[in-house]
């Protein structure tokens, strides 16, 4: 890395993205505390629910939006957590970058899939694969 090391209160300032990532992890985990409690209550409500009860739950914008936010924050946090785990155990740069890229891709796809399903359920769309050639 180029440039002079910078200090704040005699502590070296992170030269790359480490400090920002650390803060993002903590903020995401902090958000997940209330979201997790809400998810636990929702899990209790929805356990054993039949199709009509479950779709009625998604018809409430409050539930749908909060579940979408939970899914994105949770999967984002988990992807950062996997990045830390991979960085701890894989030291060969090529393998490390490949595995982190793969894990990020998986969680990105999972987040997109969740939002896709939640949006359809919130809008009360016809059951899939309606609208996809069927």
């Amino acid at each position: 890395m180029s440039g002079y090391a910078q200090y704040k209160n005699r502590v070296k300032i992170s030269e790359r993205y480490g400090a920002r990532e650390w803060v993002v992890e903590r903020v995401a985990l902090l958000l997940l505390m209330p979201l997790g409690v809400w998810a636990a209550f929702s899990a209790f409500t929805l356990t054993g629910a039949d199709y009509d009860t479950a779709t009625a739950w998604f018809a409430s914008p409050f539930n749908a939006v909060l579940l979408g936010v939970t899914a994105v924050v949770f999967l984002g946090y988990i992807s950062l957590a996997w990045k830390v785990i991979i960085e701890d155990y894989i030291h060969r740069p090529g393998n490390k970058a490949l595995l982190i890229g793969l894990s990020n891709l998986i969680f990105l796809v999972l987040a997109a899939t969740s939002i896709f399903f939640i949006t359809r359920l919130a809008l009360g769309s016809a059951p899939l694969p309606a609208g996809f050639g069927a």
Partner: protein, 150 residues
Amino acid sequence: MSTASDADDDQTGRFVRQPNGRIRPLSPHLQIWRWHITMLASILFRMTIGAASVGAILVIGWLGALAFGPEAHAGVMAFMGSPLGLLIGFGLTLVMFSFILNGGRHLVQDTGAALEIAPANLLSHLSVWGPVVLTVLFWVVLFAAGKVSL
């Protein structure tokens, strides 16, 4: 400080010759350590991350079943109502409570608080055993409310 003379006639295997030629005491490895509750809580949080990743895929599968309509949903519910399905559900709730409590411990300790032995042990005990208690309670209430049955 150990010197070469300590180790020359050592029969215990407590010393090793490092690649640079120096004699150093052998570092204790994993099996030497007594298990601390703080260590267990830390390892369990990492395992929770792994289990929660699998759990996320299962929950997304349930979302997909709902989005694919009543037949797909009925199929998933029939499986989740079976003994194996209920066991998976129990595991999912255990992971959920573990994530909340152990994540809470992580957040508190990230601020630099509760790192002394007594509060660290207390928080670790809460995040290791708390999820077990909460999960059992959760399922007792689920059965009592008639939401699930065997």
